[in-house]
Symmetry: C2
Subunit: 347 residues, 2 copies
DNA sequence: CAAACCGTCCAAAGCGCTTTGGGGTTGAGT
DNA sequence: ACTCAACCCCAAAGCGCTTTGGACGGTTTG
């Protein structure tokens, strides 16, 4: 069933049917009702491709997922972010177009979406140092919202980020208050913006407390269980191991916990762990009493909000950037305790 | 830059330019070369919407992701499956359209994709008991491939599945050979087809060995760390706890391991664990020596293959169903050992 | 009572592509 | 010299929608 057929059934012109369906005022309520009922009955829905060809708007948003050539990692937060963004698109009648490409084809994928007119806007994932994407998107005039911030790019772009620096500063301070002085950081890949900020927050808290940064306690890698395990194990093998660890993600923390178990150490009592919890749906950090003490912020909500911001930008055509910085919430869990040497003294 | 502009620049008709770009034989090699070079220079790419309006083919594949209303779980395997499918689409010049909807809007989402002509085919995720989707898709004549199989549906549809039954039978047999008799199953949600088959495989191995099924050793729930933890903890609290556990996923196994740690038990020595490993990129089960003994099969590869099958179906218009049943590979890891009572005797 | 106006509807153009159905131009064959 | 493929190319229709610029009665206004 297409518009022509529907209008013939109704004995109306395509124009009138189209206007009735799209809520234009120049059609009487009686006819509109008749049209809507017929559309319902015949299960008519406008052909999106024809619609977007006629209007010039695709009513679709693009997400480009880049697979690192070496390990082809899928970011674990991706699913929940997409779930958030996707439900907003669905509610607004937009489609989500996903493009999965290898790193070297990344820029071309954006170009493609733009020049083929298949999307009206784009969400930029995982901004990194020297990221060429914002500049490209600005140049080809494709509206976009960055999930995170682009280090070194000072164009007037829209973004939504969590305050990674403050979160990790807060987490580190919390551990320092508990008496820890040998505090490790298992960070994300440090070519990514969020990881750099987390590192900065961690270092600034140590600085403020007069604790020197020990590069032996710094680890950086992908958000995997394996990396958490290997990272902490390496540190525990050192002569002066950490008594506390900040983990960039729950997966890493799970790996770190395994390293503790292997070493016969008990999480909390022997080594404290603070994590950043993205509240992934398949990795719940306990409900009433969290397993890990965590700085948490929902990546699902971030996906929703990024989508909202982008849709609004597209709808209004407004050029002024929207920026949101969300604070993570500190949740006390069972993975942190006073530093072991203090407990010894107190005992 | 559109086709008209490009053809004007070249002094050719739109027809010729179109044919040159699409590799039709009735254009001389010299002109084709000229056209391709100009297209490259002006960075011309055909407008997808116009293209699909003209051809009647959308060159897009739909994936509908259903968010359970209660907990809104995102399936952890989703990311890697999508990565696999997505790279195949990208290679074939297809778009991937993702629709994230609440359960009650699911069928409507499929209807929508079909009648709006926004996709040429669909991948069906997570088939379950009494699944209405294959029938609907058959009725509206939208080609589809099911990842898994649809219990109780005997239409001639295409699917790709792993041999869940045999995998879990094999895993259970392996544990029985090690002397275990109290073997628990931490399964997925048992309204889903794959979980039913795994349960059947587990039970058939027990039957064959003359071991009665103890419902106290059966757990079923989502693929989360929490469910693995709670499930095993409950079993360990029983008077006659299991000495071995089969886990439907690595996340559950990680939770199960935590339950063991809490109970002061050692994985492998006290309680053996066998998992099904989907080889998720962010949950690697060790490389040379796996942490968990596992039946493994790459969900990424499954995504690739599902996409290939669907694209082929669409290209050829072939109605005969394609079906593939993949066997999981048994990988020995460090999570399994002979049953404790045997070790005692041998000692 | 004519003019202006309003509410309701329509014919037709146009979005950017593909595809049908030819139409010139060559060069070989007769 | 003429025919006839073969080869290249083109004009125009059509995909299903939106949107412009009226048309057509009926009502209100000066």
């Amino acid at each position: 069933m297409n518009l022509r057929e529907l209008s013939e059934k109704l004995g109306l012109s395509q124009t009138t049917v189209s206007r009735a369906l799209n809520g234009f005022p120049e059609v009487s309520e009686r006819t509109r009702k008749r049209v809507l009922e017929a559309a319902e009955r015949y299960n008519y829905r406008p052909n999106t491709r024809a619609q977007s060809l006629a209007t010039g708007r695709a009513r679709a948003i693009g997400h480009v997922i880049t697979l690192d050539t070496s390990h082809e990692m899928m970011n674990p937060i991706f699913g929940d972010f997409i779930a958030g963004a996707g439900s907003v698109y669905a509610g607004a009648g937009y489609e989500m177009i996903l493009s999965v490409v290898r790193a070297e084809e990344e820029l071309d994928a954006y170009q493609d979406m733009a020049s083929r007119r298949s999307v009206d806007g784009i969400i930029v994932h995982g901004p990194r140092v020297g990221d060429p994407r914002p500049e490209l998107l600005d140049r080809i005039r494709l509206p976009f919202v960055v999930h995170g911030r682009v280090p070194g790019y000072d164009g007037p772009y829209s973004w939504l980020d969590i305050n990674n620096r403050r979160a990790f500063r807060r987490g580190t301070e919390f551990l320092i208050e508990l008496g820890h002085r040998r505090i490790a950081l298992l960070n994300g890949l440090e070519n990514l913006d969020f990881a750099l900020r987390r590192r900065a927050g961690y270092e600034s808290a140590l600085d403020a407390a007069g604790i020197p940064v020990d590069t032996g306690l710094l680890g950086s890698g992908e958000m995997t269980e394996t990396h958490g395990y290997l990272g902490l194990r390496r540190m525990l093998d050192r002569p002066d191991p950490p008594t506390a660890v900040l983990c960039a993600s729950m997966l890493q923390a799970i790996g770190a916990r395994r390293a503790l178990d292997d070493a016969g150490l008990r999480m909390g009592r022997d080594v404290s762990i603070v994590i950043h919890d993205d509240m992934l749906s398949y990795l719940r950090n306990g409900d009433a009493l969290p397993l890990f003490t965590a700085l948490r912020s929902s990546v699902r909500k971030a996906g929703e909000r990024c989508a909202e911001i982008l849709l609004e930008k597209i709808a209004t055509g407004d050029q002024t950037p929207t920026r949101e910085l969300w604070e993570s919430e500190l949740m006390l869990g069972r993975s942190t305790a006073r530093a072991p040497h203090l407990l010894d003294t107190e005992r």
